[in-house]
């Protein structure tokens, strides 16, 4: 089969045409690269600027005494020990409550999510909850846990409110992590005769674990920095005693870093500015540490078998 000879000349200078397009393309590339580069640089500079400002203003306050001692002289001196301990107490309880709930919720969404209308509705609701402003959780916690259940402004009410606040994000990241498990692996498990739950437990969950852990830590680090969920539910501002870690103290309100910052700034003249900056830096370090541990956990879990 011989093809008829085709002439491509058509009286056109093809090379010149292409060269012109090439020039336009090159200019456009340079332009776009610079645009994205400068916007990215601006973002990075903003964050770095923010952190260095806080570090600069807060650094001289930071000391072992500041981090461990309670405030003295009507909050105008001393440290923020009770606030740090309170924040840790709030986070620990929230962690214990939210991890099982969030992970099981995410499993539920991932396993039953596709076929039933109810589950699609559930998914949409959880996604909406994840975007609900924290103050709404705070008010909900006040209405339900503090007043309705009669828990009062207390650590317990704070735990429950923070749990609700972190739950949607953890459920959604768990769901996404499980859905990202390659179908071949699930098929491999099923073909081996494993049941659906054995496949989930033995194959899908371990595979998804790094991402689930990342979601948990990031969600908690966000909760650690939010003042409004605990504003009406768990917080006390004036605290000259160390935070107690006993059972009876769970019914008491507790001092914590974000609330200390909000209230300390709102009442000028009481808390000196250098203490506020110091607490601000402490909170940022607290949250950054949580974020770094998320990165560490993920890379370690990934390195294990991937």
């Amino acid at each position: 089969m011989r093809q008829a000879e085709v002439t491509w000349q058509m009286g056109i200078n093809w090379d010149a045409l292409a060269a012109r397009r090439d020039r336009v393309r090159q200019w456009r590339n340079i332009l776009i690269t610079r645009l994205f580069g400068s916007v990215g640089l601006l973002t990075t500079l903003l964050v770095i600027g923010l952190i260095t400002t806080i570090a600069y203003k807060g650094a001289q306050t930071l000391s072992w005494e500041f981090l461990t001692q309670p405030p003295r002289e009507g909050m105008s001196a001393g440290g923020i020990g009770p606030m740090i301990q309170g924040s840790i107490l709030l986070m620990l309880g929230t962690l214990l409550l939210v991890v099982p709930l969030g992970v099981f919720g995410g499993i539920c969404l991932a396993e039953y999510g596709e076929h039933s209308r109810i589950m699609r509705l559930m998914h949409a609701s959880v996604a909406a909850l994840a975007g609900t402003p924290p103050i709404v959780y705070g008010l909900f916690g006040l209405a339900i846990f503090v007043l309705k259940f009669g828990l009062g402004v207390s650590v317990l009410a704070g735990w429950f409110t923070l749990t609700l606040f972190s739950l949607p994000v953890i459920a959604l990241t768990t769901e996404a992590a499980l859905k990202a498990v390659p179908q071949e692996l699930v098929d491999g498990g099923l073909a081996l005769g494993l049941s659906r739950w054995q496949t989930l437990w033995r194959i899908a969950l371990p595979y998804a674990l790094p991402n689930i852990l990342t979601g948990i830590i990031l969600s908690l680090s966000r909760a650690a920095g939010e003042a409004t969920p605990v504003l009406f539910t768990a917080s006390i501002y004036y605290s000259s005693a160390q935070t107690a870690f006993g059972l009876e103290s769970l019914r008491q309100p507790v001092a914590n870093l974000p609330y200390y910052l909000a209230e300390g700034y709102r009442q000028p003249g009481v808390v000196p500015e250098h203490l506020i900056w110091g607490a601000c830096l402490t909170l940022i370090i607290f949250v950054l540490l949580l974020n770094f541990s998320a990165i560490l956990v993920r890379s370690r879990a990934r390195r294990r078998y991937r």
Partner: protein, 260 residues
């Protein structure tokens, strides 16, 4: 051609009767009736989309995972219809193992990959489990290569080793029937040759059903070959008979490379 002609296979291990599958409105398999003999390799060949993988995946009920798949007809394994309501899916898949086109080791150690099945199915632990893992790896001709690094991630193995690991993983739950869905199509020629030798050895103990795109492979390692096209079983028979004297025009055209 190997010992194909000298061996006779009389017992039927698997039999499909009037087996049809459709995905939504699209028929994928049209009324296929054929036997698969015990301790023989049966190759399924045909152009892409002809239904050979669908047929294979019917034999351990993996097609049920596809949401709009509809299956009718029967698949008899040792005389029992596996689509019967009373059939235990776990027991079925323990008896009918499967290897996929792309090696899919689990993201765990080599040992754990093989140990998972026997541990969950038979509750094996300790020495007994080790013994089973070693046996399976030996049978899959992988033991000598991995015996010193059983704790290493399975994902660090080469593609060919991964596929043999998947075969070991399947053998460790002691199946009787092995389904292989183009097990060599993602592998280099040397790994392919190793797997082919392995399949030949395995066929002395197991019933092997192999989907392949590679006609030479079917000719080299299978005792029986079935040719499918557009979801229909065009013809099947002893491999050398089918290759040398195809009964149907379509088969001859396909074998001569006139389509697909």
């Amino acid at each position: 051609m190997i010992a194909t002609a000298t061996r006779t296979h009389t017992t039927v291990a698997v039999e499909t009767i009037d087996l049809s599958v459709s995905y939504g409105d699209k028929p994928a398999l049209k009324s296929v009736t054929m036997p698969f003999y015990r301790n023989a390799v049966t190759a399924l060949i045909g152009p892409s989309g002809c239904g050979k993988s669908t047929l294979l995946r019917c034999l351990n009920r993996m097609n049920e995972r596809i949401p709009d798949a509809r299956i009718s007809g029967k698949v008899l394994i040792d005389g029992q219809d596996i689509y019967d309501r009373r059939v235990n899916l776990t027991a079925l898949r323990r008896k009918v193992g499967m290897v996929f086109q792309k090696p899919n080791p689990f993201p765990m150690s080599i040992f754990e990959n093989v140990a998972l099945g026997p541990r969950l199915h038979y509750g094996l632990r300790g020495r007994a489990l080790h013994e089973v893992v070693e046996k399976a790896l030996r049978q899959a001709a992988l033991w000598d290569e991995v015996k010193d690094e059983l704790r290493k991630s399975a994902l660090a193995l080469s593609g060919g080793q991964q596929q043999r690991l998947c075969i070991a993983r399947m053998l460790a739950v002691q199946p009787q029937i092995l389904l292989m869905d183009e097990p060599c199509s993602a592998l280099d020629p040397i790994s392919t040759q190793k797997i082919e030798e392995l399949i030949r050895t395995l066929s002395e103990q197991y019933t092997v059903i192999l989907v392949t795109h590679n006609l030479q492979q079917a000719l080299r390692i299978s005792h029986y070959t079935a040719f499918l096209m557009d979801g229909e079983l065009i013809e099947w028979g002893e491999t050398h008979c089918l290759f040398e004297r195809p009964q149907r025009q379509e088969t001859e055209d396909y074998l001569m490379g006139r389509f697909g």
